[in-house]
C-alpha cells in the first residue's frame, strides 16, 4: 500500500517490546508464561497462513490478519478471546479490509477440513460475532502497512532484485509475522533487516549500500538478531508445548 506511513494510525500505534510482551492477568492466573503466550501467537499466525492458502488470498491479507490478531492480544486476554476463534476471524476481517473478501462459510468449511479437534470448530455465527468484538478491540483502526512493498523497492535500489535474493528476503519477511515485529518497528526497517540477513546468507556484500542509507544500523542489526534468534529457538515445531499451553488456557479460573 502506498498511503503515507508517517501520518498513519499504524505509525502512531507502534509499541515498545515491553508493552507487547505482557501476559494478561486472566491468562497469568491460569499459569500461562510469556513464552507460552508468544508461542500461541506464533501458532495462530501459522494457522492463519494455512487457512489463507486454502481460501486463496493475497499475502498481504495474511499479513494484515496476523497483525490484527497480535494487536488484539496487546489489549485482550486469550481467556476472553479464544485464539482459535480470533485467528480465523482476523483473516475474515482482513480479507474485507484488503478488498479480497472471503466468504465466512468458506472459512468454516476449511477449518473443519483442517482440524478434527473440536476446539477449533467454530460456526459462521461465531465468526461474525467475534468480528464485531475484534473491530472494537482494534479501536476500528484497519489500515496496516507491511514491509513487502518497501522490500521490492529497496532490493531494486540495491541492485539485488534477482530471483534468489527476492525469494529469500520475501520469505524472511513472511516469517517475521511469526513474531511481534510488526507491532514494534516501522515496516521499512523490518524490510531492511530481512535484506540484510539475506545478503549475508547469500554472501553478497552490500555494506556500502547500507552505509549510504540514512537509517540507524543499530536498529536494523537488533531486528536481524531478533529474527535469527527466533529461527534458532523455533528449530523444532513445538506441538507439545502448544498443547500444554492450550490445556492451561482451558482451565477453569
Amino acid at each position: 500500500m502506498a498511503a503515507n506511513f508517517w501520518t498513519s494510525s499504524h505509525c502512531k500505534q507502534l509499541l515498545d517490546p515491553e508493552q507487547v510482551d505482557v501476559v494478561h492477568q486472566q491468562d497469568k492466573d491460569k499459569g500461562i508464561t510469556l513464552e507460552e503466550f508468544k508461542l500461541i501467537k506464533t501458532h495462530m499466525a501459522n494457522y492463519i497462513l494455512k487457512l489463507a492458502q486454502h481460501v486463496k488470498v493475497r499475502q498481504r491479507v495474511v499479513a494484515t490478519a496476523v497483525t490484527y490478531m497480535r494487536r488484539v492480544y496487546t489489549r485482550k486476554s486469550m481467556t476472553e478471546y479464544d485464539p482459535r476463534l480470533v485467528a480465523p476471524t482476523c483473516l475474515y476481517l482482513a480479507s474485507k479490509a484488503e478488498e479480497s473478501t472471503v466468504q465466512a462459510r468458506l472459512l468454516v468449511f476449511y477449518i473443519k477440513k483442517l482440524y478434527s479437534d473440536e476446539k477449533y470448530r467454530y460456526e459462521i455465527k461465531d465468526i461474525l460475532e467475534m468480528e464485531m468484538k475484534i473491530l472494537e478491540a482494534l479501536n476500528y483502526y484497519l489500515v496496516v502497512f507491511h514491509p513487502y512493498r518497501t522490500l521490492s523497492q529497496l532490493l531494486q535500489d540495491a541492485g539485488m532484485s534477482d530471483i534468489n535474493m527476492t525469494q529469500l528476503s520475501w520469505g524472511l519477511v513472511n516469517d517475521t509475522y511469526k513474531m511481534d515485529l510488526i507491532l514494534i518497528h516501522p515496516p521499512y526497517l523490518i524490510a531492511l533487516a530481512c535484506i540484510y540477513i539475506a545478503s549475508v546468507h547469500k554472501e553478497k556484500d552490500i555494506t556500502s549500500w547500507f552505509e549510504e542509507l540514512r537509517v540507524d544500523m543499530n536498529v536494523v542489526k537488533n531486528i536481524s538478531m531478533e529474527i535469527l534468534d527466533f529461527y534458532e529457538s523455533n528449530k523444532m515445531i513445538a506441538d507439545e508445548r502448544i498443547n500444554t499451553a492450550f490445556s492451561k488456557l482451558a482451565l477453569k479460573p
Partner: protein, 435 residues
C-alpha cells in the same frame, strides 16, 4: 492510542432524536452526544442478509475515515456495537452542496463559488496526499456544516491507490461526474478521476445545473466532446489503447467562454486545466489549489458567511411536482462484467432507472432485478431535504466482485528455518563487529 476506553462507548452516551432516513445499510438518526453536547448523526449498520457480517462498504468507510482527519473531510467521531449492530457516529451536517446549487432563492457570488470549490479541493487534496481516491465526488456528497464548512463525505467507494499495476473497476462515480478515461473503460487510473469530477462540480456551481448530463455512457462521452471537442491523439495519446475506446465523429470545441459566459478568465483557465483530456496532463488537486484563481480577487467568502438554504423553509417550499432542475444521472444498471457488453446493457436499463427518478424516490435500484438491494441514501439525508437522487450505493455490492481480482497468493510463504542456522547468525554478528 488517544481514544477513550472502548468499554465506556455505550449507546446511552447518545440521546437519540428523530430518524433522518433510511440508508444503504441501515437507519440514520440524529442524536445528541451527551459527552460533548454536540449534535451528531448516527448510522446504524444493518447486518447483511447474506450472513457476511459487517457491511463491506461500511467497513471501507470506517477504515479510511479513521485515517483521514481534516477540516474538509467528514469526521467519524465514534463507532460502537449496540444490540448486535454496528453504529457509526458522524458530525451532524445541516445540508449539502446539491441543495445549495439548486435552491433558486440563493444567489452565489463569484467569491462564494470560489469558497465552495476551494474547500472541495482542499478536502480532496488531503485524500490524495494520503493516497486515497474518493471515487464518488458529486454535490450531494459534499456536506455543509453549521459554520458553512464544506466536507467530503461518503467514502464507501473510496480506495487506497498508488500500488503499481493494481487494477480497479471503472464503474465508479455517478455518470455525470465520470472522467473520459473511465468512460473508455480504463482499469488503471489515478487521482485525475477525482479532479475531473471536481471540475464538473465547479462547472455546476457556475451554471447552477449539472454540466454534462449524459443519459448513457456513450451519450456522456458525446456531451463531453460536444463541450470540449473530440480529443485528438496528440491531445491524448493513450486514448486509443483504452479497453472500450470507440472512435467518435470529430466535433470542434466551442470557445469555453461561450459555455460559461459569467466566469472570470482565471476561473475559465483553471476549469480548462481540470477538464484536460489526458489524465497525465490534467492538473493535480494541489496544483489547482495553487492556481491564480484562488489568489486573485475576489477572495473566497468566509465559510460562515456563505449562503445556505434556509432549513425551515426548505422542506415546505419544496414541491415535488415542479421539481428542481438538478437530478443525478441514472446509475449503471447492471453488475460489473468484464467490459464489452457494457453499452447495450446500460442503455437497456437507463429508461427504467429514469422512471424511478421521476417518482422522486431515493431508490438507487442499480442492480436492476435484484430487489434485495437496500435503499440508498448517502449523507444527503443528514440535511432534512427530500431525497431525490438515485445513488450509487446499492451498486457497490457488485463492485465487490470486481475488486476481487488477483486473489491468488502473491508468493507462498516459505518456512525458512532450515535455511538459516547458526552459521548465518555468526556471519551477521561478525559483520557488525567488524564495522
Amino acid at each position: 492510542m488517544t481514544e477513550m476506553d472502548p468499554s465506556k462507548k455505550v449507546a446511552d452516551r447518545y440521546l437519540k432524536r428523530e430518524v433522518l432516513g433510511e440508508g444503504t445499510y441501515g437507519v440514520v438518526y440524529k442524536a445528541i452526544d451527551t459527552k460533548t453536547g454536540q449534535t451528531v448523526a448516527i448510522k446504524k449498520i444493518r447486518l447483511g442478509k447474506q450472513k457476511e457480517g459487517i457491511n463491506f462498504t461500511a467497513l471501507r468507510e470506517i477504515k479510511l475515515l479513521k485515517e483521514l482527519k481534516d477540516p474538509n473531510i467528514i469526521e467519524l467521531i465514534d463507532a460502537f456495537p449496540h444490540k448486535g449492530n454496528l453504529h457509526l457516529v458522524f458530525e451532524f451536517m445541516e445540508t449539502d452542496l446539491e441543495a445549495v446549487i439548486r435552491d433558486r432563492n440563493i444567489f452565489l457570488s463569484p467569491a462564494d463559488i470560489k469558497s465552495y470549490i476551494q474547500m472541495t479541493l482542499k478536502g480532496l487534496a488531503f485524500c490524495h496526499k494520503k493516497w486515497v481516491l474518493h471515487r464518488d465526488m458529486k454535490p450531494n456528497n459534499l456536506l455543509i456544516g453549521p459554520n458553512g464548512q464544506l466536507k467530503l463525505a461518503d467514502f464507501g467507494l473510496a480506495r487506497i491507490f498508488g500500488s503499481p499495476d493494481r487494477k480497479f473497476t471503472h464503474q465508479v462515480f455517478a455518470r455525470w461526474y465520470r472522467a473520459p478515461e473511465l468512460l473508455f473503460g480504463t482499469k488503471q487510473y489515478g487521482s485525475g478521476v477525482d479532479v475531473w469530477a471536481a471540475a464538473c462540480i465547479f462547472a455546476e456551481l457556475l451554471l447552477r445545473r449539472p454540466f454534462l448530463q449524459g443519459t448513457s455512457d456513450i451519450d456522456q462521452l458525446g456531451k463531453i466532446f460536444a463541450a470540449f471537442g473530440t480529443p485528438t491523439s496528440s491531445q491524448w495519446p493513450d486514448m486509443v489503447y483504452l479497453p472500450d475506446y470507440v472512435e467518435y465523429q470529430y466535433v470542434p470545441a466551442p470557445p469555453l467562454r461561450s459555455l460559461f459566459p459569467m466566469a472570470s478568465d482565471d476561473a475559465l483557465d483553471l476549469l480548462s486545466k481540470m477538464f484536460t483530456y489526458d489524465p497525465k496532463v490534467r492538473i493535480s488537486v494541489q496544483q489547482a489549489l495553487e492556481h491564480r484563481y484562488f489568489s486573485s480577487a475576489p477572495p473566497p467568502t468566509d465559510p460562515p458567511k456563505l449562503p445556505r438554504p434556509n432549513p425551515k423553509s426548505r422542506v415546505s417550499d419544496y414541491n415535488p411536482q415542479e421539481g428542481p432542475t438538478v437530478l443525478s444521472p441514472p446509475r449503471k444498471s447492471r453488475r460489473v462484467m468484464p467490459d464489452r457488453d457494457r453499452f447495450e446493457g446500460n442503455s437497456d436499463q437507463a429508461e427504467k432507472v429514469d422512471d424511478r427518478v421521476g417518482e422522486r424516490q431515493a431508490v438507487g435500484d442499480i442492480a436492476g432485478k435484484n430487489e434485495q438491494v437496500p435503499m440508498s441514501i448517502d449523507f444527503s439525508i443528514f440535511g432534512s431535504k427530500p431525497l431525490s437522487r438515485p445513488t450509487i450505493n446499492s451498486f457497490r455490492m457488485s463492485l465487490v466482485l470486481a475488486c476481487r481480482n488477483r486473489l491468488s497468493m502473491d508468493q507462498a510463504s516459505k518456512g525458512l528455518s532450515h535455511h538459516l542456522g547458526l552459521s548465518s547468525r555468526s556471519i551477521v554478528q561478525t559483520f557488525f563487529l567488524n564495522k
